[in-house]
Amino acid sequence: MTTLSEKILTEAESEIESEAESQAEIEESTEPGPGHPAEQPSPVLAVRDVRISDRAGDREIVHGVSFTLTPGSAVGIVGESGSGKTLTCRAALGILPAHFEITGGSVEIDGNDIAGLSPTRWTDLRGATISAVFQDPASYLNPSIRVGAQIAEVLRVKKGLKRRAAHRRAIELLRVVHLRDPELVHAQYPHELSGGMLQRVLIAVAIAAGPRILIADEATTALDVTVQAEILDLLADLRERTGLALVVVSHDLAVVAQLCDEVLVMRRGEVVEQGPTRDVLHHPRHEYTRLLIAEHEQYGLEKFLAPAPEEDA
């Protein structure tokens, strides 16, 4: 029944493999990074003690964030509003707002330090290697162009596909993100789609060029719970089947816990806690993490649901 989506996922997979191979060739000639034993798969994204400052106010806003992503892994960032989650993501995507800059640490995408990247090289990387979805899907789509044409555009520019191939592939992508009637959606305008459908379209756009890293910044915050779960399940699916690596940003610890192996808890530009999700949930060390957990337990479903038994390693 799902032959088409199988096909595109396998296609994406083989692309990722071939990219990974050529990547491995490149990396053989370079020194392995410090603190990364040779047997570990090489990270697709390495964020090392990144600091971000606002040049206008001459203030440091993000005071050192570090994490590494290997293919198929997922890292979550939670934290209160204004804690620097989005700025961290934008730094990794090379799209910091005007007068913000990285003033410490480094970001490596696929082994390339972004500090030395030319604009052309950035254009190559964005979409094709690192991609992102944000909270408000409508604002990232052109309201006067049909959805399918917008996806096809990405495919023509990033993958060099011809018109007809791009059209076919766009429909396949709409199927991959579990839109029920891909042909119909393909011909629709953004305003004709619900929030959940739009977010799926945006994910289709984001994965169109077969990126290895997808950043989802509050990508499900505005959606109904059931639709949110559908999108999160879709991301988990892409991760498992294509080795897509995920950075998931949410103010909800539970959203991040559902999807990620590792969690960073941010507060006022600081990472106050970081570790494997299970450890952070079961043995939170920082008071702010404890507060986030307590809020869930007091004002959430947890109060009626039996906790899962703690499986200690």
Binding site: A229, H251, A257, G300
Partner: protein, 288 residues
Amino acid sequence: MSTGPAPKATTPGEPAKPVLEVKDLQVHYGTPRRRRPALRGVSLSVAPGETVGIIGETGSGKSTFARAALGLVRASAGSVVVDGEDVSAYGARQWRALRRRGVIQYVFQDPLRSLDPDLTIEASLAEPLLVRGDSREEAARRVRAFLARVHLSEDLLDRLPGELSGGQRQRVAVARALVTEPRLVILDEPVSALDSANRVQILRILEELRDDGVALVFISHDLGSVAGIADRIAVLYQGELVEVGAAGDVIGRPRHPYTRLLVRSAPTLHSAPADRAERAALRALLNA
């Protein structure tokens, strides 16, 4: 549809009369020729001091229920009884008179819609009191008392809604709904636009209200918030109430497939990988 268990008595002995009693409510939108049902026979009652959560996906009819209970939309069938008064046949003038008495109040998701952007916080809060006929001094006194109840400082009284944070604005909207000491407050997505800290703060304020015997209808698409606050939960699905029961029962032992999907979809700290397969199966069942 089922009406759920009888409302519990707040005083021993005689069961308390419901503050809101809705029976077989139907609401249609559209033109007479192309009528589309938004509520298809919904029955629900709310006892004094009881918090009933209404949960459902977008378009399921939650806001329509709120509007019907507030007389903002006309029912095509069924009855609505507010505080013992059958308001089903009320005209606009009678509704205005009822609302003016301040027995029933409301809070909407976007506080900018419940608050006039051009009125200072003080004027906004005093308005329902002055409309009711309170003196200026009495209104000023009550405004300050209720501002304290939502844990806001009097420094904010001279500001405009646009000069407050989202959480502060929503607390002002709650205070405005409370100044007339209503017996019933209908809250339509009051915390959906707020972050966790602000959400919890509003939920705590609502808990205090409930303890004072105010009846609450808490509408949300976020099962977590509803679970945190409601005594009973009513599940709306495509204009029908598919399940009503004690919060613990609805969440612990959901019966309708949509409720099951909801419970399995809500992010919890203990989500299991197996939930994913169950969700997929439930979606297939609902779409069949």
